[in-house]
Assembly symmetry: C2
């Protein structure tokens, strides 16, 4: 069944030592070019594959990375579970390209609260951790104090520094603000709870920045909540007097809003426009298709992978926060 060919087999076939085979296959110095090639050819022919365990035990690295997602994002389908899983898939692909294996680990609420280090790290199955989606400050702090290499994906910690990769939400808001103003529109309502997450906050402030820049007034109270401060969705209170444009903090909420508007016989984009953020599955699930901000998940994944590998290999690595640029996608939800 398994073709259990090991270095020893190659060495014996060639009448040389295992050490030389190891060096040749790992492209290390100390082997003649000709012999090296001969070894590589034979290894290929015999179908040799390293035994990761032996290698890892010696080197101390597993070449695997744990990707941590909190249980609550996955169980509760309400929210953006699938987005995180898609991010995981992107990360996993990028890791594979660098010779690493990504391992998904779901952190239970209890373990998050009790600050339990993931088993996969304790048992050295992985060399470092990528946190996908808001995890409690306390938990991250504990990881940091244990000197475990980690990177935050799409969120950041507030009272201490962490390496993280986030979408430039402030820029995203600005892009959307500029677009709206370029259409000659300026009467808007923002849908989202500014105190629910940092990204909603940043998105709103980016819009405000665009308005200030063009010397247009935007009332900070022109906001309607779509969720409570814990993040649980609540019903959206559509105002009697419609704005020119509703700016939703994410596509999913825009999706919900448009359904509501349709039920009230309000036509989008004729009666009022709707724009949002994310460019995820919800953006093209209902008509009109949404004008929205595309989050560059691919670039975010590439940078995250680079960063975690750097951190694993260089314990003195300085922490940094890397912002990834977003892009406006114009579709049909605004005239």
């Amino acid at each position: 069944m398994d073709n259990n060919v090991k270095m020893k087999d190659i060495a014996e076939s060639l009448g040389i030592s295992v050490v030389t085979v190891s060096k040749a296959l790992n492209d290390k110095d100390g082997v003649g070019d000709e012999l090296r090639q001969k070894i590589k050819d034979l290894a290929m022919k015999m179908g040799y594959n390293v035994n990761r365990f032996a290698k890892s035990m010696k080197e101390g690295f597993s070449n695997s990375i744990g990707i941590i997602i909190c249980d609550r994002f996955l169980i509760n389908n309400d929210s953006k579970s699938s987005i995180y899983l898609e991010c995981y898939q992107m990360l996993s692909t990028e890791l594979e390209k660098k010779g690493y294996t990504g391992i998904l680990y779901t952190l239970s609420e209890n373990d998050e609260f009790d600050l339990v280090t993931p088993r996969i790290y304790r048992e050295k199955v992985v060399d470092g951790l990528i946190f996908l989606g808001q995890t409690s400050n306390d938990y991250i702090k504990n990881i940091k104090e244990k000197d475990i290499p980690y990177v935050l994906f799409d969120f950041y910690t507030t009272d201490f520094e962490s390496d993280c990769i986030v979408n430039d939400n402030y820029l995203s808001g600005f892009q959307l603000g500029e677009f709206i103003l370029s259409k000659g529109l300026e009467d808007i309502i923002f849908i989202g709870n500014l105190r629910a997450t940092l990204s909603i906050q940043d998105r709103f402030l980016g819009i405000l920045k665009a308005f200030i820049n063009k010397n247009k007034y935007l009332d900070v109270n022109n906001v309607i909540n779509d969720r409570d401060e814990k993040g649980k969705f609540i019903s959206i209170d559509i105002p009697k007097k419609l704005p020119q444009v509703f700016v939703c903090n994410c596509d999913q909420v825009a999706f919900r809003l448009i359904q509501e508007l349709k039920n009230k016989g309000i036509d989008v984009p004729k009666d009022c426009g709707v724009v949002s953020f994310d460019n995820d599955i919800y953006a093209t699930l209902i008509e009109p298709y949404l004008t929205t901000i595309d989050i560059n998940v691919t670039d975010m994944s590439i940078e995250t992978v680079k960063l975690i590998i750097k951190k694993i290999n260089d314990t003195n690595h300085r922490t940094s926060k890397i912002l990834i640029k977003s892009k406006l996608i114009i579709r049909e939800s605004v005239l």
Copy 2:
């Protein structure tokens, strides 16, 4: 940083041998009860964790399982990418409960075509494979011929036997058929391409079985295609004369259909009913919420995990096909 406590440390602290520590911690015979407890307590206190690599190298098992998803399911968002990722998450959770680690591996179209064995198996990173979603017969056959332990999740091979866990689609169709007839309805149209996948076929035949059973007539031509035979969605041709009920082969298609019907001013469920299969995210994304068949992904995951572990440990294991029961969920899409 790492608390590199190893068996040797425990042994030295207690003035005993590593062998004894190993036995005690692995609950093997050959240690006195009292000593065993003392060892366990100290291990806990010192924060000991096995080194998986050393253990795996000796035992020959990694205690990890590869979960294989074809690239095309993930890239092409069209289809049910997120569903597979949710399945992955369920499987991963079940594996964790058994002390295994699930590792996602995306199989590229090229590798699938060239019959390349996943790197994670070749390098002994995983002990076996779970295939998530239709993978080519040739590829699976190759895996089987290499005696690699594997289980198919939610699909099966046709010209040779494979261990697999599938939703009982035939039963699902039957459940839906019985429900429709119990409402006194019998004029239905099935939406789906009967030659696209085996599950669509089985679902349709299950409905037919319910009709035959109750001595009701269902014309085998009462079918409208929603996709071509490769699985690519095409637009749905809504007939002039509406049936009493549209039976869609999955929630996503029901979602699309209802949007179409709404556009034409047709009211669901007043003008006609809609039912479907899956009970996934699409089931409650649009009003009316769908009456549909719930696929028991949890049970499917549990059985899959049991089966793959059994196969890894028992090379003589007989192949089997395990059907998981589905359940009717009644909501508002049929009067």
